[in-house]
Each structure stands twice: as C-alpha cells, then as structure tokens.
C-alpha cells in the first residue's frame, strides 16, 4: 500500500507540475527498495524460524489447491465464453427487435436516467495537460473535461454534476460499447469503424493530426528521414496503426516500442530507448512542454494523418445523441455570435435574433423535442463559456498554448463574429 501510494503520488505530481526526469523516478524506486530491504532485515532478525516445516507444507498445499480452483474457474469461464458464442449466433432478428422495444420501455432513455442519477458520467483522462488533467486542487480540468461540464450544465444545470472515469486509450471501445458511461471524451479520433462499432460521434471539436517528435541533436528535419528509427507509441490508438501504415508505405525499417501508459512512453523516449515519439501533434506539443528541456526536442513538420477529435455517445439512444450534438453546436455558435460567459444575460435581453434564439430568449432551437429547458444554453455558457473560451483556457494562451489563428481549429471563414479567429474548420449544425 505504502509503495503504491508513493508511486501514485509521484505520478500525480508529475502530471500536475510538469515531469521530473526518469532518473528521479528510478532513484525513488531504488530508495524504496532499500527501505524495504532494511525493513526485511529488521524483521528477519526479530523472528525465529525453528520449526516451520508443517506450516510451510500446509502453505504449499494451500497454494496448490488455490491454483487448482483458479484453474477450474478458468475452465468454467472458457466454457461460458464458448456457450456465449453459440447463443449470440442463434439470436435472430426478431429477438433483437423485441429486445430493442423492451429496452426503450423499461429504461425511459438516457436523459431520464441521468436526471434520476443527478450526474453525468464521462470517460476521460487525467494524464495529458490541456485535454484532461488534475489541477493543484485535484479538480478535473481540460478541454475534454469542459465538454463534459457543458453537457452536465445543459441537462442538470450544474457544471460540477460530473463523474469522470479515467480510462486508458485501449479501454475506450469497450467502455462506450457497454453503455456504462454517458459520454466518451478522451481525445477520441473519429474513424468509420469506431463509429460503426463503438458509438456515435457527436461533433468534431478539435482537428488534430499525427506527427513525430525527435531529439533536436539527431539533426532530423523531416519525417521522411525516419528510416531505421525506433519509435515509441501508446497502445490501443489510431496513432499506432497510422505509424505502421506510414513506415510501410515508405518502405522504412523501424522498430516499434508500444507501451500502455503515456508516462512510460515518455520515460522510454527521454532515455533514448526509442528515437522518435509519435502521437497527435497537439498532445506532442503538450507533452513537450512537460519535458525537462523542451527546446531539445523538435516536432517534425509532416502530419501523417487526419484526427478529428470529439465526444462519443453510446449507440441506441437518439435523443441523447441529439442533446450532445446540440450542446456542442451551441458552444461553437455562441463564439460565432459573440456570446461569452461575461455577457450572456445582456445578449439574452438584447436584439440579436440568432443569439437570442440560441439562448432560448426567443424562438426555439429544438429544446422541447430534446427534453431540455428553453434557456439551457444560457446556463452552459455562463458556467463553462463558449468554444473559444474553453479553447483558450485549456489549449490556448492560458493552457498549453497551441496557436489557434490560421489553424484548422479556428471558426469557419465567414463566421459572423468580429474578433474571433477565423479561416478554420470549426463548424456545426446551425441552431434553428
């Protein structure tokens, strides 16, 4: 317990305050091991072991029988899995329709469930500054987290009515498929097979692309010079597959090093076990700022993939899907119409017809059909701000400082706002 606490403290601290080098971590571990050894010596000096034969024998037998039961357990599980396969195949179309109907009737939809429960459950992360991390007070912050807060405000009126489940990249699919969370916002790239298998993608909230980071002293200036490199990557991501495609297309030799945790990937990269770290460019930028000497690392100019990121909702509930889409649209158009957390009430009382419609002061954007309050967007913007505010707070000047001007993540070219960044691809279904 003690060791785990120490280790997790260390990791949490790194996530918050920028990272120590892996040297620190190793030293810490060595120190811990030394302490434990001292403890063991002290312990062994205190205990005598004159005649433990019987106890040991019993122990050994207990171990053996435990293993036996574990084995039979595994056996049973394998049988169950087999039976499951048969069952799933047998289920015909009509059975499926009946099940669908039954589900609609007895659950009453996810909106009702969430309102009953009193909070929105989002699957997200706490390990990448800007997207999802913990602040000094231990509060969940980040771009993805704010989207969850916006949704919570829309359906419950309270930005704090959220429960964040921290999951690894590889857990995203099963988590959203099982429907155990209301929304998945964990830098999830929208791909067709994920859309078909995982859940419904509501709206692209950030346009990203995969890039490569290398130590500056290698003198590499282009991704097309990466022949023969060892590449570090996190498992269970599109990044991993894009990397394989890129090197295969260019007929480059490479050595993939695949890790579960972003922390370990960074350790391996820092130590030079691999020469290249590949990830979405924005995450590379965020993680680069966390390295001891950010200037010693360069992000290569090439972008090898398209990575539209956004929230995902479970399959099977159209109303919930529409609610999430509308909230995301609302955030984007709020920026376009110049509505921010500071001026919501004055705009609602003003004379801009489109803005008033968005805020529910006049006309409708479909609140009734969605089952939401007419003025839900007022609460949302008051609580978390518009798209631009969320971006600036987490990814922009107040966060990890990714430039938005002239990038894909500015609003569309002829957005009606006066001083917002334009010329990008952020665009959503009009609120009408």
């Amino acid at each position: 317990m003690f060791l785990i606490t120490l280790l997790s403290d260390n990791i949490a601290r790194e996530a918050k305050n920028g990272r120590d080098t892996h040297h620190m971590k190793t030293k810490l571990l060595i120190a811990m091991l030394a302490m434990v050894s001292v403890f063991a010596v002290a312990f062994s000096a205190c205990t005598d072991d004159s005649g433990p034969t019987d106890a040991d024998l019993q122990n050994a037998q207990a171990t053996a029988s435990a293993a036996q039961s574990a084995l039979s357990d595994a056996n049973a599980r394998a049988d169950a899995a087999e039976a499951r396969a048969d069952e799933a195949n047998k289920m015909a179309e009509d059975a499926k329709m009946m099940a669908d109907e039954a589900m609609m009737e007895d659950t009453g939809g996810r909106l009702a469930q969430v309102q009953d429960r009193g909070h929105v459950i989002c699957a997200s992360r706490n390990d990448v500054p800007g997207y999802g991390s913990l602040d000094d007070a231990g509060r969940n912050v980040g771009f993805d987290i704010d989207l969850c807060r916006a949704l919570a405000t829309a359906v419950l009126g309270d930005p704090e009515a959220i429960e964040i489940q921290y999951i690894t990249a590889a857990e995203r699919g099963p988590t959203i498929q099982s429907g155990e969370v209301d929304m998945l916002v964990r830098t999830v790239t929208w791909t067709t097979s994920r859309d078909a298998q995982w859940g419904n993608y509501a709206q692209t909230m950030f346009y990203d692309g995969q890039g490569f980071m290398v130590p500056a002293d290698l003198g590499v200036t282009s991704a097309y010079e990466l022949d023969g490199a060892a590449v570090c990557v996190t498992s269970g991501t599109t990044t991993e597959l894009n990397m394989a495609d890129f090197f295969r297309q260019n007929e480059f030799e490479y050595n993939p090093n695949v890790f579960e945790d972003t922390d370990v990937v960074l350790d391996a990269y820092e130590s030079g076990q691999c020469d290249v770290f590949t990830n979405d460019r924005s995450q590379l930028a965020a993680l680069r700022t966390a390295l001891p000497n950010p200037d010693d690392h360069v992000i290569l100019p090439e972008t090898i993939s398209e990575e539209p990121l956004g929230p995902v909702v479970p399959h099977g509930d159209d109303q919930w899907f529409d609610i999430v889409k509308t909230v995301m649209s609302g955030l984007i158009y709020a920026e376009a119409y110049g509505i921010n957390s500071g001026n919501v009430s004055s705009v609602a009382a003003g004379d801009n017809a489109k803005a008033k419609r968005l805020l529910g002061a006049e006309g409708t954007i479909g609140q009734e059909a969605l089952g939401l309050d007419a003025t839900f967007m007022q609460d949302v913007i008051e609580a978390v701000g518009n798209y631009g505010e969320i971006y600036d707070r987490n990814l922009g000047p107040d966060g990890i400082d990714l430039p938005r001007e002239n990038g894909r993540n500015a609003l569309w070219s002829n957005a009606p706002c006066t001083d917002c960044p334009k010329g990008g691809q952020i665009y959503a279904a009009p609120l009408r």
Partner: protein
C-alpha cells in the same frame, strides 16, 4: 429397522438418502440458474448494444506493428499470424522464466537452509523482499534501471559483435541456410547415438566398476557429428549485428534481446524464484531428519546426501506447488504490456482497435488456459514418475 424415535418408520424428511438427493438437486438447479443467467445476460447485451462479435477478422491483414518476434513478422500478415507471434513471445518469456526461476529458486531455497548464517539470512532477506512487492512495481523498477543504460549510439560494444544498451542486447546469431535440415537431422541422430553410448558405458561402469567415462564419450560423439555436419552441409550463417547508416545508428542483423524483454524476464524470475525458494525449503524440511542422518552414516557428504537422498524425496512435496508457480509466472507475464514487451495481452489490446474485443479476449483466455494446462500436464506426468511406488 424399527426406530425408537419414529415408531412408524423414518419419515422422508429425516431420511439421509432423501436429504442428500434433495440438496444435490437444489445445488444443481442453483448453479445452472446462475450460469445460464450469466450467459443469457451477456448474449442479450451483445445483441442489444450491437457489440461486434465473431472470428471472420482472423484472415484479414492485421496492419499492426509488433516490436520483436520469435518468427518473422510483417504488418501485412493476418490477425491469426500476428496473434501467433504474440503468443510465441509469451511462450518465450514464460519458458525462459520458468527455467531460470527454478534454477535460482532452488539455489536460494537451499541457501535458506544453509548452516552458514550469512548465506541463510541473505536468502531470507531476498525472499521476504521480492515476495512482498507487487510484481508490476518490480517490473517498472527493472525497466527504469535498464533505461538508465546508455542509448544505442553510446552503448557498450564488445569485440565489435556484442552490443549492450537500453534498447537491448544485440549478439551475433546464426541464420539457417539451405543445408539446415539435413544438418539438423544428422545432429539429432548424433544425439541419439550419444545417449545410447552413454547408457552402454554407464552400465559397464556400474557392472564392472571400471571407469568408462560415459558423459565424456557422449559429448565427444555429439561434438564430432555436429562438426562433420557443419563441414559437409554448411547449414548456418553467422550474422553479426551492424550499425545502420543515418542519424539513428540502430543495429541490424543478429539477434536482439530487447530491454523490455530483459526487464520482464528479470522481474518474473526474481519474483517467482522467491516463492520457489520457499517451496524448495518446505520440501526439503518435509523429508524426515532420519534420512539425512542415514545418508551421512552411509558416508555420503553433505552435497551427495542432498543430491541422492534428500532431494529425490523432497521432489514429491515440491512438484505440485511448483507447478502452480509456473502457472503464476506464465499468467503474470501478461503485465508485460506496461513495459512495452509485445506479449499476448499487449498485442491483442492493439488488435481490438479494429477486431472485436470479446472474440479476442476469448482467444487470449483460451490461449493462457491451454498453456497452463500444458504445464500442468507435464508437471503431473513428472509427478507420477517421481512419486513413491504404491503411494497415492
């Protein structure tokens, strides 16, 4: 028979046979209900949530990278092949781990019983330390230690052929050429001949008492046959790792034992050997002290009495729990994903990007089960051979 308590005969609810049957039937019904409830629930959920399921993906190209493999791998190979590569990586870690952990465990277990105070205390500290720290933390510890080695461009080089750095250990390796199989067959024949020669000479030594050097003779036969085969067939080519051109200076050719693999192997061996040491100690102490005394009074020294008298008897106590440690080691190797070794769990996690997760997890479960059952089988056969005749 007329009962005093129940003059009219024993009623049904007091009838032992009847009660036993009822309990059996009720238990069976409960078990069936729970299991089928579980199955139907899962089947329904799969259906309702449209979770993909099936095995048709196995023929498709996997398109995923695997960092190291026992057999050649390329991302254009099928999922099934990729899965096999990953399974072989697990087998490699598991088999090497089992062998090394057994050797180390026996040494430490015997040291634990040594009359040398320092040695036995050191063994105790070793056991208590490594048995009581979670394996995942130990793996990360060894991995971070290996990362402390210089990188591939600055690492250690021995004889221009062996390279040690934080990417792993690179060494010259023989790749098979056309003449490999004839050579392999010839060598196999040579080994058989050596075994026969060993048995013949060994029997002669026992029967006549003349020194016949059976072990030396066996090795000479193997050595001569192998060399002759090498000269005739040229079956192998020694490939020395070479530094590639370009900024990365990676090494190519020969064999590579990656840093992640070393960290995994060291972690598994150290952790498991602590348990095995205790099992060995328990086994030795389970042998009656009279056996040691009898052996010593026959004139056997400490080593020989341990080797010929104590250990064979201790084995029948040691083997069953030892097998369960082998199974643990195999299953624990699934923690490799944390330190970047492409084992079964790590690779199949990557595969769930596109392939259905439930099918893959089912396959992973079956594979581990098969491996574990195989170890059990081998262990049980060995157990049957070593146990006393007429016992159990």
């Amino acid at each position: 028979m007329q009962s005093i308590l129940y003059p009219g005969g024993i009623p049904l609810w007091r009838n032992v046979v009847f009660i036993q049957w009822v309990v059996q039937i009720i238990s069976a019904i409960v078990v069936i209900a729970i299991v089928s409830g579980f199955i139907f629930n899962v089947a329904n959920e799969i259906q309702d949530r449209e979770i993909p399921f099936g095995f048709s993906f196995l023929d498709e190209a996997a398109q995923i990278p695997i960092g190291e493999s026992v057999i050649d791998y390329d991302p254009s190979e099928s999922y099934l092949y990729g899965f096999t590569v990953a399974a072989l990586n697990t087998v490699k870690a598991s088999v090497l781990g089992v062998v090394l952990a057994t050797m180390l465990g026996i040494i430490i277990g015997v040291s634990r019983l040594s009359s040398n105070w320092l040695l036995s205390r050191l063994a105790l500290v070793y056991i208590d330390t490594f048995r009581n720290i979670p394996l995942l933390i130990q793996l990360l510890f060894w991995f971070l230690i290996i990362l402390e080695l210089p990188n591939v461009r600055e690492g250690y080089v021995f004889f221009d052929a062996f390279y040690l750095n934080n990417s792993g250990f690179y060494l010259p390796w023989a790749t098979p050429l056309g003449g490999f199989w004839p050579w392999a067959i010839l060598t196999a024949v040579g080994i058989l001949a050596a075994i026969v020669a060993y048995n013949v000479l060994n029997r002669r030594e026992i029967e006549t008492g003349k020194s016949s050097y059976p072990i030396i003779a066996g090795f000479i036969i193997i050595f001569v046959v192998t060399i002759i085969g090498l000269i005739i067939f040229t079956p192998l080519e020694l490939v020395v790792p070479e530094r590639q051109e370009g900024p990365f200076g990676r090494l190519q050719g020969g064999a590579r034992w990656s840093g992640s693999f070393f960290a995994l192997l060291i972690g598994l061996v150290v952790y498991t050997s602590a348990f095995i040491a205790e099992i060995v100690r328990a086994g030795i102490q389970a042998v009656n002290r009279g056996q040691t005394e009898a052996a010593r009074s026959l004139g056997l020294n400490t080593n020989n009495s341990l080797r010929f008298v104590i250990f064979p008897q201790a084995l029948r106590v040691i083997i069953p729990p030892l097998i369960s440690q082998y199974l643990n080691l195999t299953k624990n190797s699934s923690l490799a994903a944390a330190i970047g070794y492409p084992d079964l769990v790590s690779v199949s996690t990557t595969m769930t990007q596109i392939a259905p997760a439930i099918s893959l997890i089912g396959m992973v479960m079956v594979t581990y089960l098969a491996m574990s059952l195989f170890y059990s089988l081998v262990g049980n056969i060995y157990n049957r051979i070593t146990r006393y005749a007429g016992v159990g």
